[in-house]
């Protein structure tokens, strides 16, 4: 008999209504442990609200979210120490140095041998030269690396990323993607990545969930999506879905 593996993230009939707006409208998906999944969609598609509900930041109107078996947000303290999050839209205290920020978050997550962990992250993410500089005085690329170091400080089993390479130059963005790939392989972490960068999604993700107006419009591997939509790139698939041409193209195929 086949042994069923419990999903790292299980979303079931999830709904979030803000006053009269249905930001997320009955979505369901399950992510296998160790998988990398891209969450795609235009502005207002419901990606950020979905990620926020997975993190326990927002209470669902109905439906359930489970992370490593714990229901969010009710049982969040069972799993928050195993999760982390990175987004360019969330900052760290500007006046604290990089080392001070990492120390504070390391202590919040009760990281063992914190000094050693910070040193290892500084080596891996190339932070050593500005470890003692105020975080607010760093360039956008350096800040992203620091935010990534914070997101990895507890070696999370579940890593949520909201446009992790937004506003980065192509070289730095490529470097960040490479590091995320290595981290996932070494740690076996489950990664959910919201992104507008289709090249990033094609490179990192083995599965793509496309959202539109709170619904899941499609959910498959990038390869199968390309075949099904008869397209060469994920960008073209995304545009088909965003502009409502998806069904017509799939029917034609």
């Amino acid at each position: 008999m086949l042994k069923t593996v419990e999903p790292a993230i299980a979303v079931d009939q999830l709904v979030k209504v803000y006053k009269t707006t249905r930001a997320v409208d009955g979505i369901s998906f399950a992510l296998e442990p160790g998988s990398v999944t891209g969450l795609l969609g235009g502005n207002g598609a419901g990606k950020t609200t979905t990620i926020a509900m997975i993190m326990g930041l927002i209470t669902p109107t109905s439906g359930t979210v489970k992370v490593l078996g714990a229901e969010m947000p009710r049982q969040r303290y069972q799993v928050l120490h195993e999760m982390n999050f990175e987004s360019p839209y969330v900052d760290m205290p500007h006046r604290l140095t990089v080392r001070q920020n990492l120390k504070v978050f390391g202590r919040l997550y009760a990281v063992d041998d914190l000094g050693g962990r910070i040193a290892a992250l500084a080596r891996e993410l190339d932070l050593s030269e500005f470890l003692d500089r105020p975080t607010g005085k760093l360039s956008a690329g350096q800040k992203t690396r620091v935010a990534l170091a914070k997101a990895l400080i507890n070696s999370p089993r579940v890593l949520l990323l909201d446009e992790p390479t937004a506003s980065l130059d192509p070289d730095t963005a490529d470097w960040v993607r490479g590091h995320l790939e290595r981290f996932r392989k070494q740690r076996g972490a489950t990664v959910l990545l919201a992104s507008h960068n289709m090249a990033e999604v094609e490179r990192l993700c083995e599965r793509v969930i496309i959202m539109k107006q709170g619904h899941i419009e499609d959910d498959d591997t990038p390869q199968r999506l390309l075949v099904r939509y008869g397209r060469q790139t994920m960008e073209e698939v995304f545009l088909d879905v965003a502009r409502g041409r998806g069904e017509a193209r799939q029917a034609a195929q």
């Binding site: 930041l57 140095t97 507890n154």
Partner: protein, 273 residues
């Protein structure tokens, strides 16, 4: 990584210490912030101290009640700056858009509140201790001569300041930076009613009823009784403590309810302007 405790109400000292460390790093990073902590209490002290001198020269009553204005301004600063120390530390998270990072970390709300209370004490100590020594040097007023009564005054005032700070933090979580002005102004709404510089008896009867619902009123009345009549009003301190326990408990419950509401409306994600 150490195994976490599961209960949402459990308190881990290492996480409280981590948050205190974060605020101490912040204070250390800016000498202007440190100076500002002393600056306003010192200005207040000199204004009210010289006023006390002037009135004492022209009034036998105030000559007898030596130091009454200086004591009042010091006590008011404990109340106001205690709350400000709590609220400003909380606001630092919103100004730096760091609140989301904290809310997705294992930090419990009660640990966050404990760290803010500790920071309120640290900021108060930095600001007020030098000012009490200035009061001795310039006006010959030794607030420490109040002895045990001073401890009772301080305990009651700091509890009120925390109760107000906790509610302000909850409103900020729920409503965002639009409610920031509450942190700076709410205590001044209470100021006329708490009778910092005058006895409760000067208020109209109906306002006196309202004034006696506020714990600081008991402290300021107790302070005047001690300085003018040399009587320690234990009854007033106990009544203030009972009221404070009620308000503090209500503040914590209010904070948790506002946090729950913030999760429902999604305002924990909107931490900027």
């Amino acid at each position: 990584m150490r195994a976490p405790s599961i209960s949402a109400v459990s308190l881990a000292p290492h996480r409280v210490a981590a948050m205190v460390l974060r605020y101490v790093y912040l204070l250390r990073s800016s000498w202007t912030r440190l100076l500002e902590l002393i600056y306003w209490p010192a200005v207040q002290l000199f204004v009210w101290g010289f006023l006390q001198f002037y009135i004492a020269q022209n009034s036998g009553f105030f000559a007898r009640a030596s130091g009454i204005f200086i004591a009042a301004v010091l006590m008011w600063d404990v109340l106001f700056r205690g709350q400000l120390g709590f609220s400003v530390s909380f606001l630092e998270e919103m100004w730096s858009r760091n609140l989301t990072n904290l809310m997705i970390s294992p930090l419990r709300p009660i640990e966050f509140v404990c760290a803010l209370m500790i920071m309120s004490l640290i900021r108060l100590a930095i600001g007020m201790l030098p000012v009490t020594f200035l009061a001795m040097a310039f006006f010959g007023f030794n607030v420490y001569s109040l002895g045990l009564a001073l401890a009772a005054f301080f305990l009651n005032l700091i509890l009120t300041s925390w109760a107000v700070g906790i509610v302000v933090a909850g409103v900020l979580l729920r409503n965002g930076m639009g409610a920031e002005s509450l942190a700076w102004t709410l205590m001044f709404v209470l100021m006329p009613l708490t009778c910092v510089y005058y006895p409760v008896s000067v208020l109209p009867d109906w306002l006196q009823v309202l004034a006696w619902t506020l714990p600081p009123t008991y402290v300021f009345e107790g302070m005047r009784a001690l300085l003018m009549e040399h009587v320690i009003r234990v009854d007033l301190m106990l009544e203030a403590f009972v009221l404070n326990a009620l308000y503090f408990g209500a503040g914590v419950l209010g904070f948790l309810a506002l946090l729950k509401s913030a999760r429902r409306v999604g305002s924990l994600l909107q931490t900027g302007e």
